[in-house]
Symmetry: C2
Subunit: 338 residues, 2 copies
């Protein structure tokens, strides 16, 4: 069933059907109705490949999300969708597994859909100019940056918290509460990515306060899953290393780490305080409520779209926004009895 079939059935030309389908004017009401009826009864659906192929440019923004189960992203996505729609653009959404290449996916999408711009949610921190030359439209990195790459600042935009600073602040909260034996959990400490930045923030906060970094208290979890957080906390406890607080680089892992503490008959926060980074809605519903640095997801989403639009419509150069993360004072941190 193609546009040709509909045209034949209605005894009109194929371009007339096209006009009706695309809500163009210059079609008599009578013909319009006849065509619409034929479309309905035949269950005709236009072929998008053909449409995209002939189109020389669309008003679409591509959104490439890496990591399906990422709750933080799924909250941001709603805001992004609304913002893009409000500005009269279409949104083309693609989800990628964590092991897929977001740049390649973005480049494919750009050509296929003749995109005007791209939004990346989740990606590597070390893009090179050569690599990004595949992307021919303005793009914004949402909630991450290019700290370890060689991109020129003016060539792209990014909106994300300052990971180093946020980790620094989180650990400082613990120190201010009297803790000095502070365990820490990171995916990895030298992966040239978000975890390295947060690890550096952790170390800086300790040093600033004259506390040596004890390697025995730093655990590399090898992932961001709950299993990783649980297993890591459990093995740290079993190692016998003494600590009164823990900094966990992500809410999900922190929730699992707290479970591990409970399973080892340690109370939170009495026996061990826990602080994290993210501010997922989910972590409000644990007991105790997780104390965490809240990433302003809504702001990140809104500003990302705004900046992208400015790049597209006004041709501005890359902008790099660093909104503040704010402490949510849950119940998982308490002062150390001195």
């Amino acid at each position: 069933m193609t546009i040709k079939d509909i045209a034949r059935e209605c005894g009109v030309g194929i371009s007339t059907v096209s006009r009706v389908l695309n809500n163009k004017p210059d079609v008599s009401e009578e013909v319009r109705k006849k065509v619409l009826a034929a479309v309905e009864t035949n269950g005709y659906i236009p072929n998008n490949s053909a449409r995209d192929l002939v189109k020389s440019r669309s008003d679409a923004i591509g959104v490439v999300v890496r990591g399906t189960g990422n709750l933080f992203f799924s909250d941001m996505l709603k805001v992004i969708a609304a913002e893009i729609d409000r500005r009269g653009y279409d949104m083309i959404l693609r989800f990628l597994a964590t092991d897929e290449d977001e740049v390649k996916a973005g480049a494919i999408l750009e050509r296929e859909k003749k995109l005007r711009g791209l939004l990346f949610l989740g990606g590597r921190f070390n893009y090179t100019p050569a690599e990004m030359s595949l992307i021919g439209v303005p793009y914004v990195c949402c909630s991450y940056t290019n700290s370890f790459g060689t991109l020129r600042e003016s060539d792209f935009s990014s909106v994300s918290i300052d990971d180093f600073k946020t980790a620094y602040e989180a650990v400082s909260v613990l120190i201010a509460a009297g803790h000095s034996r502070i365990a820490a959990f990171f995916d990895a400490c030298d992966d040239h990515s978000i975890s390295e930045l947060r690890y550096d923030g952790y170390c800086a906060a300790l040093k600033k306060n004259g506390i040596p970094v004890d390697p025995a208290l730093v655990v590399q979890t090898g992932g961001f899953e709950m299993e990783d957080g649980y297993r890591s906390m459990k093995s740290l406890i079993e190692s016998g290393a003494g600590f009164t607080a823990a900094f966990v680089e992500a809410d999900m892992m922190a929730i699992a780490a707290i479970k591990a503490l409970h399973d080892c008959h340690k109370r939170v926060p009495e026996d061990c305080s826990v602080i994290a980074i993210d501010g997922l809605k989910l972590s409000e519903y644990t007991s105790p409520t997780l104390t965490t640095m809240i990433q302003p997801g809504e702001e990140i989403a809104r500003e990302s779209v705004r900046i992208l639009m400015d790049m597209i419509e006004k041709g501005i150069e890359g902008v790099h926004l660093r909104p503040e993360a704010h402490l949510r004072n849950g119940g998982s941190v308490c002062s150390r009895q001195l």
Copy 2:
């Protein structure tokens, strides 16, 4: 940059480039290398729209997922992807917001990608034959069924737990533990969907045990979000209705409901037992571990793909599998002191 440009640059014909790109034989090693080099240096990416348009049939399975943040689906997806790949097919994944129409999306995808079959994760329970006639390939409803629709059983397949029975069993666990004042939380009770089935199961279990259904203990949450669970439990507590246990139709809401109980200084399970349905990984990491009916997600995923393949390759008729949900004895249910 098109295939034509690459051809010109290499001084070869356009079909030769096509052959190289698609790994066809009958290309001299020398030419192959030259083409590949040109592709690389130019950052050429084939246009998928053009490819799809000319292709008359693919070996692709479409997977349409409704509900981005659904953790249950994101676990199943990994298994589905692996199974499809193992059988030599490609998987085309589309995520939909909860308010989008999965049937229409499936129909579009089918035409665009020339699909061999479709897998729906999440959808309505009341399809009609007219509506589904848009779909021209075999399809399987994963983790839901057509209980309220008019489809012929032989025209489609489904793999899901028996929602009525599973709810019945969950409530029976509570009753067996000595509870009779059992609150219950559903999205809605008469929406011709999953919630209605589970509500019916709740009622049946009570009646079977001579316990009247008290409308004051049945709460319609108006959604599946954590907010919905929290708010609903809170208002039930404030209503002053007495109850010693709660059946919640989904893990996420149950987690939030438990938080509400805690916030009202009620202990779980001592003051109120809680049981749910789902078996999310997440609910293992709450304290206490949630007692819940585990949906065999992996089995559902694996069997769905298997059945779809049988429909495609062997032309079998619709199959309807009802794998068992199993009780996970967490710590959120205890016996009522009589």
